[in-house]
Amino acid sequence: MRIRVVLPAHLRTLARVDGEVELDLDGHPTQRLVLDALEARYPMLRGTIRDHATLRRRAFVRFFACERDLSHDSPDAPLPEPVASGAEPFMVVGAMAGG
């Protein structure tokens, strides 16, 4: 199953990718499976989206998809079908807090 992930600009720079990231997953995607696969492919992203030890989402990071805020969903909840099918991306977003 190939899904699409959109990273914020600073994390794209860090991971040295342009545009969206495509990840192949086994099984229906969840936040945890997506982030596990993302960090396995791009180890430099470890700790930047979720805490190393607790795996909790960092406070200024949000997860959106299909025009919904999934930030507070369980990390093991299935992501929406359009994300699973690759029709819609899973978006990692930096909180709107310029600085």
Partner: protein
Amino acid sequence: MSEVRVLVGTRKGAFVLKSDENRKKWKVSGPQFAGWEIYHLKGSPADPDRVYASQSSGWFGQLIQRSDDGGETWEPMGNEFQYDGDAGTHQWYDGTPHPWEFARVWHLEPSLADPDTVYAGVEDAALFRSEDGGKSWRELPGLRTHESGPSWQPGAGGLCLHTILIDPTDPERMFIAISAAGVFRTEDGGGTWRPANRGLKSEGLPEPEAQVGHCVHRIAMHPSRPNVLFMQKHWDVMRSDDGGESWREVSGNLPSDFGFPIHVHAHEPDTIYVVPIKSDSEHYPPDGKLRVYRSRQGGDEWEPLTKGLPQKNCYVNVLRDSMAVDALDDCGVYFGTTGGQVYASADGGDSWSPIVRDLPPVLSVEVQTL
């Protein structure tokens, strides 16, 4: 011909400034890590091409970057800073217990002998060490778990370990400083630590001469005299001649003894530099005049150095890690400001000129003499 490389960390990226030994024409490159806070960059004394950088952001946390070509290219290293065991609590601003939480790396101090060994001073205050070039980090918990730890409290910038001095004659002997806990010394490579604050007096403490709790802003040492330490405290400039066993005030005729950086001349162990700041709430120079003060007697008697520095309407600050010296015969002195200027003097402070005027606020300045 020698070359000088100035490593500048700012609120929005890192810059590398290069010149030859004349230090007149400079090449400015950067920003590296654009948009990220770069609290500190420092090169390895054992391999000057090896440079470590602390990169952080409120959104995405802490990263450690390493260059093996003098800052031209960088690779992200390990960024897992886990306190050893149950981290416990320190004192919060209001005096209540507050859990120890990692926020960022303030200072990176490479080993004097091994390019792969580097220390990291972090907020909330603790000391970490990497022995594999920054790939992995392990806390030296003897410091944080000192019996006084639960009483440490953050300064305005956080509970930060900001200074790490390694004794060149004995790498097992180190001094660190924490705002606001004070100076600690180890003789066993970081296993055990003793407070080294006798003689300090801080009116903000219920017991002004307490063993621990002082807001030490920076300490400095000349490598030829590891038992002589200089300190810029929140208020007061101090000196120790016995490796931190005791301190005496050497503020002398300074117009204000509040400030952040303190540094020692490369070749004259009793020539020291500070930048007086008006007060703890007015973080700018007294009278709007940016003046470096130099003492050639290791304190007590100070002279203002003003040539080339703005002497009216100047309201910038100079942060604690934002001053450094080079090792050329006529010692160069450098400092960066929160207004984005990096000033250089190629004559020990007698005269100054800006290398660059409009960087983001400067957090740190280090110099490599190549």
